[in-house]
Symmetry: C2
Subunit: 305 residues, 2 copies
């Protein structure tokens, strides 16, 4: 193939996994943290409504230092949303993640929910264990993998790791690690507007614009279906940060303690109802009410997806 | 002129005041808040070095609730930077701003520095008073107009007003008011990354993309010369947010309590040394050290500008 044609083809169809042909996989629900758990629970309701008739949800508290408290909150929330089977999977070691107990808890599950906490606890404890393999299987069979805060970060291929230093937007403070990879070609950040994380997200994707940056506000979620398109649900915004047209970045030049300079980033600010097509990296606008109608259809099992 | 040609011309030379021919006006130094006042004082030093030989700086404490404390801090900082004449202008009423005392304080000044506080106190007390006219005159004669935090916001034509509600990124919470207008065609926001203000800045400029959004991090400044080009100085970033290529915004559709959705915003993340040309809205990359050399040249009066 002629060199020029190769370049044209790459522009027309960038090599992104999400461009792959037939729809496959289940649903990712990534939540920016602090979702409503006692009122309307619109986001947890979206998780519940995707579990199928007689669904079974496993709440995985591995990330948190307060597993008992969080489990009680989520158990109460999901039971009030009429999820027939809600189980707890607490993992404190890789041994737990490889145990028969874990396999029994995950047996028959149609959804897994990761609480907030420390994303490295999730990946270091369950990465490459039977628990991870089983969750992947649930996902590939059309199940739901959901998570909030740290639980949303781990959906990424490569994830941002919380850095408690004040200078979290310096290059040296940009800590990343392999995520669970349920959201292909994406790097998801959470508590996004609330914690002012635009600079660190731009810094992360500048290191490799193949990956799309997605920043989710609190009480807001993206719902990604078949790894192709996500929809926004909730009170805040979802920021899509695309470095593919970036004209310059100082990532390899500047001293590590400095901030990055990057020019020509495309940013889309999406709110409830809006959709984003991953293969073409194109947002489309839909009303907030359209999302409520869609969710009602999901509940009735009538989305046709 | 043919319609098509008119459109082409408008694309080639958008109608921005900053495109105007000959350089004029003085220097704006807009600081994102919390600039170093006791150590190296690199940003206050940049103000001091632009006052000229035997310069006189007037520190205007109108914005703050703690005028005495701030005055003492800034007096000490600027005296340590060898500014020969540092005066205080405290204004508590429009009468003060129209007083002979204020005129005497501003007599012979080559620079004015606005402290942080409440931007509405600055504009409501001095707007359209002899104090404002005199500061404008100082600026047009080539002087320096500087400000930090609220003092940076007022440099804008139209400024964002602090809203203490948690939902500051909702359309209804986007409060704006006329600023002092020293930075043409710009809307300056401060404490930018630290307070997570990207959504509100995008919200503001989506209402009129004629104005360029500029978000300044703490201990970071933009130095705007002749209303045409600014340079970045300091530890953090300056985010330029350009809505001119925005493909869609929900500003007129959504209910006021919702967040905005806006697609196709261009964002440039600039750090020390980087420059931004306002007429063409184009960033250019320069090393951090180049800015240190430039500042040394300014101090020696050898920039050739």
């Amino acid at each position: 193939m002629a060199a020029r044609r190769r370049i044209e083809l790459s522009r027309e169809r960038p090599l992104r996994r999400s461009r792959a042909g037939a729809p496959h996989g289940g649903t990712v629900v990534a939540i920016g943290g602090h979702e409503d758990r006692v009122g309307d629970k619109h986001i947890l309701r979206a998780v519940a409504d995707r579990l199928g008739h007689g669904g079974k949800l496993v709440v995985c508290t591995v990330a948190t230092e307060e597993p008992h408290e969080l489990w009680e909150e989520y158990e109460s929330a999901f039971r009030s949303l009429d999820v027939p089977h809600v189980y707890r999977l607490d993992i404190e070691s890789r041994e737990d993640a490889s145990s028969e107990r874990a396999m029994r808890v995950l047996e028959g599950a149609t959804g897994v929910f990761f609480t907030g906490g420390d994303q490295l606890k999730i990946t270091s404890q369950i990465g490459d264990t039977p628990t991870y393999a089983r969750i992947r299987e649930i996902f590939e069979q059309g199940g739901v993998v959901a998570g909030t805060s740290a639980g949303a970060s781990v959906m990424s291929e490569t994830m941002l790791v919380t850095n408690n230093s004040e200078a979290s937007d310096r290059i040296s403070a940009l800590l990343m690690a392999p995520g669970l990879g349920f959201a292909s070609d994406m790097l998801i950040d959470q508590h996004f507007s609330e914690r002012g994380r635009m600079a660190r997200l731009i810094g992360a994707i500048s290191q490799n614009p193949r990956v799309l940056g997605v920043g989710i506000d609190e009480d807001t979620a993206l719902i990604l279906e078949h790894e192709r398109c996500f929809r926004v649900l909730g009170a805040g915004g979802v920021f899509v940060v695309d470095a593919s047209k970036t004209t310059r970045t100082s990532i390899c030049e500047e001293k590590a303690e400095r901030m990055l300079s990057t020019f020509g980033i495309a940013v889309h600010m999406l709110t409830q109802g809006d959709r984003f097509d991953l293969p073409s990296r194109t947002p489309s606008s839909h009303s907030s009410e359209s999302m409520e109608r869609y969710e009602t259809a999901v509940k009735r099992g009538a989305t046709g997806d």
